[in-house]
């Protein structure tokens, strides 16, 4: 028997390896250099990975016999994930002033989690995908409990226990799918399902359902969302910022891959997913209406947004993939931007009361203006990016025939106006009552302006970027 060298193409994994190496350095170097230098190192590493992702665009390389692929889908998601992580790193710098979260290990663990998310987005094999999923999850569990407060520790523990529970269901689902098809590769599974000899459709259907639940948990879809408000509120704000964008985006990358490629011809999961989306849209938006804490309101809003992106999973992959990617890119900018404002305005990691925003428009014009921008975009007001994102996803779902859900999504996003506009009204039309702290330094201010500009540009000239993404579809 001849030895066959494994098919390893390091070049195709350049962004992933860069992040991983940076993480390794960030683990070792804190013994020798300052915390700030580690932050800088992380940012540089992420920027290099970003450049590598852009450089690999359209090359369509793969490694490990196609189990790891750097196609445009993976690279696009990789860019979104790296941007999300960069925003978190930059936001964490200014918050250092109020203490907590800023031990140097923070960056190492964050980067490990990022490498997990990138692996998840590039995987074309259920096992690789699962490894990425777990690397990401373990990192985020630790990050959630990074603050030495009872709340943060409770959040981390809760997330870990429930996450383990969900992972168990996910792995069970993977096992069932493997049992039904005998394959781990995403395309191979689809081929097996389509072959005339395929007999195990009911086992595959149950497996698909369990995988759906595992991912439904990770992206926070009702009724598997209940950890979200607790964990998002309890975790340090920077971590919540990272979780709400990067973890969600990566989980959706895997979600889209599995259901758009491997299981697209398995029946039985579409109706449950519709049910989950409908429930998510209603619960997320209605519960957000009555929140008095901005951080918790944004937590529920991110549940609602999982419902919108869920529509893209239902839609046919040719439109669903690119619209989900575009949406998540915009979502990363606007949601992380909103969290960045929240971050510098709150005195600790408990977030702040929405009422206390009153009068911010005149006392902190830049923070108020950028927060307004992000909230309007989250609400989906044209010409901001959030509108185009919703438009793309809604039209993808509508052209696949899900009119009822699209109408529900449009109605609930009209409801969402109520809670997105309230902070804006308070900031500009009420006199100041509370004096809020302001930890924003130059880096945060630049970050906010860049995010706001990105949201505006992606809304004004959508096809400049979306045109590139249309190649993403399989």
């Amino acid at each position: 028997m001849n030895f066959v060298a494994p098919d390893v193409n390091y070049y195709s994994m350049l962004p992933f390896i860069t992040v991983l190496l940076t993480a390794v350095f960030a683990t070792i170097l804190p013994f020798y250099v300052s915390r700030k230098a580690i932050a800088g190192l992380s940012a540089v590493g992420l920027l290099v990975a970003l450049a590598a992702s852009i450089g690999l665009w359209n090359t369509n390389l793969s490694s490990f016999y196609g189990a790891y692929r750097s196609d445009n889908f993976a690279l696009g998601f990789g860019i979104v994930l790296i941007v999300g992580a960069l925003i978190a790193v930059i936001s964490s710098v200014d918050v250092a002033k109020r203490g907590g979260t800023m031990q140097a290990e923070f960056f190492a663990i964050l980067l490990y989690a990022v490498s997990g998310t990138m692996l998840l987005a590039s995987a074309h094999d259920l096992i690789v995908l699962l490894i990425g999923f777990e690397v990401m999850s373990l990192g985020v569990y630790v990050l959630s409990s990074f603050q030495e407060t009872a709340k943060s520790e409770e959040a981390g523990m809760k997330y870990f226990l429930l996450g383990g529970f969900a992972s168990a269901i996910l792995i069970f689902g993977i096992a069932l799918v493997f049992g039904a098809t005998g394959k781990f590769g995403l395309e191979a599974i689809n081929t097996a399902v389509l072959s005339p000899e395929f007999k195990n459709s009911s086992i595959a259907a149950v497996g698909a359902l369990f995988i759906l639940i595992g991912f439904g948990f990770k992206v926070a879809m009702a009724p598997f969302h209940q950890w979200t408000p607790d964990v998002y509120t309890g975790a340090p704000t920077v971590v919540t910022q990272f979780m709400s964008v990067a973890v969600k985006a990566a989980a959706f990358a895997g979600f889209l891959h599995i259901f758009g490629l491997a299981l697209q011809n398995v029946s039985g999961w579409q109706t449950p997913l519709q049910f989950l989306i409908a429930l998510t849209l209603m619960i997320g938006n209605l519960a957000a209406l009555r929140q008095s804490n901005l951080k918790r309101m944004l937590a529920y809003s991110s549940v609602a947004h999982a419902g919108y992106v869920g529509l893209a999973v239902l839609a046919s992959p040719s439109q669903g993939f690119s619209s989900a990617l575009y949406y998540l890119g915009i979502y990363t900018l606007m949601n992380a931007g909103a969290f960045a404002v929240l971050n510098v305005l709150s005195k600790d990691d408990d977030g702040l009361e929405i009422e206390s925003l009153a009068g911010l428009g005149s006392s902190k014009p830049l923070l108020a203006a950028t927060l307004t921008f992000f909230l309007l975009s989250l609400a989906g007001i044209p010409p901001l990016g959030g509108f185009i994102g919703k438009y793309l996803i809604f039209s993808a779902a509508a052209s696949s025939g899900y009119y009822g859900l699209v109408i529900l999504a449009a109605l609930t996003s009209a409801v969402s106006l109520a809670y997105y506009l309230r902070p804006i009204g308070l900031m500009y039309f009420r006199p100041r009552v509370t004096v809020l702290p302001d930890f924003s330094g130059r880096s945060t201010r630049v970050l906010l302006v860049v995010c706001a500009a990105g949201v505006l540009i992606l809304g004004l000239v959508p096809n400049a970027v979306y045109g590139l993404l249309e190649l993403v579809k399989k």
Binding site: F165, I169, L289, Q291, E470
Partner: protein
């Protein structure tokens, strides 16, 4: 970059820039800098409009700017039913029709900007006012330059916002902000229908590009026989319905029945705003929309006759409402409603150039009349009641002369501008291919009556303001030259403006405007021919109606005096003063039920829904502290929820496979 092709696209950019500068730094500028800045930017746009006019005059095809970008990603099914990406472009097109409109908008807009420098002198919101005006000009230019309906819609909404901001410019008075809200809301009703129209057009034509839609109709359409290249038959239901939706959208913006009630209230804004937005430009957007969509309307005979009838009813409604008003601006407002009705008659009859002709002449004399009344209001210290005026002929000599010109022009006295355009409207409806003979003749007769009424109420307006003796208590004085120069220019245009569209019997090629718009907005086919003597009789009758109206009005005023105790006190006079009770009807038919329903809903909301959501959300508001099972904070409860959810989904699958 192709300079020649993109120059005209700068037109909306310049005033937009002005808006940006004024809204950011305007507060720090001293009067009159903001006014001069705003006016000069609009003047530059006017220069560009002239350049564009020269460029586009010899061309057959519209001039498209090359700097355009894919705006909205969209998909259409191709012949095999496969979805194909066909993004909507954000682009402008300049053709003969939009060129005429840009000249009107920037030209009149510039004059009104200059006038406003004098009129708004000393106002606290001086720079804010010019910021809004510039914003309006930019949006209006986007509206007329758009080469697709969605881009047109951006301008359409933009001018709505500008109108809202400017009607409520003096927002500290609740009456003004109510008027602004009313205008905005009524416009939104029309906008909703415009959107429905766009949806239907996209479904039918798989594109929203205006020129593509217009050119998809074959060049020769013989009514009731031909199917056109898109396979959509002449007068087919989707075409008629789309045209009706567009008509309702147009009716909202142009204050046609049944969406006319906002325009008289809109006079709450400063007078230059009334002149620019609510007389010369924005309200004609509906007429422009119909002329722009000429392909659709020319092939939708049913919808076209609706356009004519709505125009005719609005024309007579506006004229009847104008005759007993006592507010100097309200008379002109109802007159605008009525004149817009005339324009709708014209475009409904299929003679699109005639509609645009009246848009142009009306812009001249109505802007003139509004600015004159602005000058009068300025002179008498803010008084707007015509019964408190009179005798201003000697005190305001310039304003008096130009007002007289404006009055005679709108009344339709030969050879002023209004005479030619009104005559063109009446003769085109008389010979229209749409609506059958009866509609054509009936609407012609209505138009003639409206001409009589118009001359009557305008003469009343003129004589109550300028003739007799002064009845007020202020000390009127003539305005400064920054205000009178624009008046003179507009007066000159009102005199000569009609010569761009001379009647046919004077020769085949004397009508410059019709020839100019032949490509961009060709007439619908099938106008009847009438002999020369017939045409002469029509003209004589129109002229007789105008002169008769003036004489009748003189006689009434001489008989009843200024306060007109005689006929205004009659039931007819009362109805006219209340604008035929349309507002009251809406109150009873729409507002009262809506109020009732919303009160009930509020009850249901506070007692039912709010409590429901409250219960749901309160449970989640303070995690751990609440006893709610739903969001208790306990890990085991959450795990059970996950498990239950899983069980339900698997149960569904099991049931489905058994069923």
């Amino acid at each position: 970059m192709d300079f020649n092709h993109n120059l005209f696209a700068l037109m909306p950019v310049l005033p937009l820039l002005g808006w940006l500068v004024l809204i950011v730094w305007g507060k720090n500028m001293k009067e009159p800098t903001p006014g001069i800045l705003a006016s000069s930017l609009v003047f530059l746009s006017f220069v560009l409009a002239v350049v564009g006019f020269v460029q586009v005059s010899p061309m057959k095809e519209p001039l498209l700017n090359t700097l355009r970008w894919d705006f909205l990603p969209m998909w259409v099914s191709d012949a095999k039913g496969v979805l194909v990406s066909k993004p909507l472009q954000f682009g402008f097109a300049l053709d003969h029709l939009s060129s005429i409109m840009t000249l009107i908008i920037t030209g009149i807009g510039f004059l009104i900007h200059v006038f406003a420098i004098g009129y708004m002198h000393g106002d606290k919101g001086f720079s804010r006012f010019f910021a809004y005006l510039n914003f309006f000009i930019a949006m209006m230019l986007i509206l007329v330059l758009a080469d697709s309906y969605p881009v047109l819609f951006i301008g359409w909404e933009g001018v709505g916002v500008a109108s809202y901001l400017l009607i409520g410019f003096w927002y500290t008075d609740v009456k003004n902000s109510d008027a602004a809200r009313k205008a905005f809301i009524v416009n939104r009703i029309g906008d909703a229908f415009l959107m429905l129209g766009m949806f239907l057009l996209f479904m039918t034509f798989h594109t929203l590009n205006i020129h593509e839609i217009n050119s998809s109709f074959g060049s020769v359409v013989i009514p009731n026989v031909t199917t056109i290249s898109t396979g959509i038959a002449f007068g087919s239901p989707p075409l008629e319905l789309a045209a009706l939706f567009l008509l309702l959208g147009a009716a909202g913006k142009s204050a046609q029945l049944p969406l006319s009630t906002w325009l008289p209230d809109a006079m709450a804004g400063p007078t230059p705003v009334s002149a620019l937005i609510h007389a010369a430009t924005m309200v004609t957007a509906g007429v422009y929309l119909v002329a722009r969509s000429h392909g659709i309307f020319a092939n939708a005979p049913g919808a076209s006759s609706w356009v004519m009838w709505i125009g005719a009813l609005t024309a007579v409604y506006g004229a009847l409402s104008a005759i007993a008003q006592t507010d100097i601006k309200k008379i002109l407002a109802y007159s605008t409603v009525s004149q817009l009705g005339y324009m709708f008659i014209a475009v409904g009859s299929g003679a699109y150039w005639v509609g645009i002709f009246h848009v142009a002449t009306h812009a001249f004399f109505k802007a003139l009349l509004f600015l004159s009344s602005g000058s009068v209001i300025h002179a008498v210290g803010g008084e707007q009641d015509v019964r408190q005026m009179g005798g201003l002929r000697e005190k305001l000599p310039t304003t008096h002369i130009v007002s007289l010109i404006g009055t005679l022009a709108i009344a339709g006295i030969i050879p002023l501008a209004g005479f030619f355009s009104k005559d063109a409207i009446l003769s085109s409806v008389f010979t229209s291919p749409f609506g059958g003979d009866f509609s054509g003749y009936a609407i012609w007769a209505i138009g003639l009556i409206v001409a009589f009424l118009t001359a009557g109420y305008m003469w009343r307006w003129y004589s109550l303001v300028f003739l007799g003796t002064y009845r007020g208590h202020a000390h009127p004085h003539e305005s400064s030259s920054v205000m009178t120069v624009p008046l003179w220019i507009l007066a000159a245009l009102s005199v000569v403006g009609g010569f761009i569209g001379l009647p046919h019997f004077l020769g085949k090629n004397v009508n410059w405007l019709e020839g100019f718009l032949e490509e961009a907005a060709p007439n619908a086919l099938g106008f009847h021919e009438i002999p020369l003597w017939g045409e002469l009789i029509l003209i004589a009758l129109a002229l007789a109606a105008a002169v008769g109206g003036i004489l009748f009005s003189r006689w009434i005023i001489a008989r009843d005096g200024v306060n007109s105790a005689g006929w205004i006190a009659t039931r007819f006079g009362n109805a006219s003063r209340k604008a035929l009770f349309v507002d009251q009807t809406y109150d009873i038919a729409v507002s009262a039920p809506a109020k009732f329903i919303s009160e009930q809903l509020e009850l249901a909301d506070t007692h039912g829904l709010d409590r429901g959501i409250g219960a749901l959300a309160n449970g989640t508001a303070e995690a751990g502290a609440s006893l709610s099972v739903w969001q208790s904070g306990f890990v085991r409860a959450y795990a059970i929820a996950v498990l239950l959810g899983t069980a339900i989904l698997v149960g569904y699958l099991a049931l489905r496979s058994f069923a």
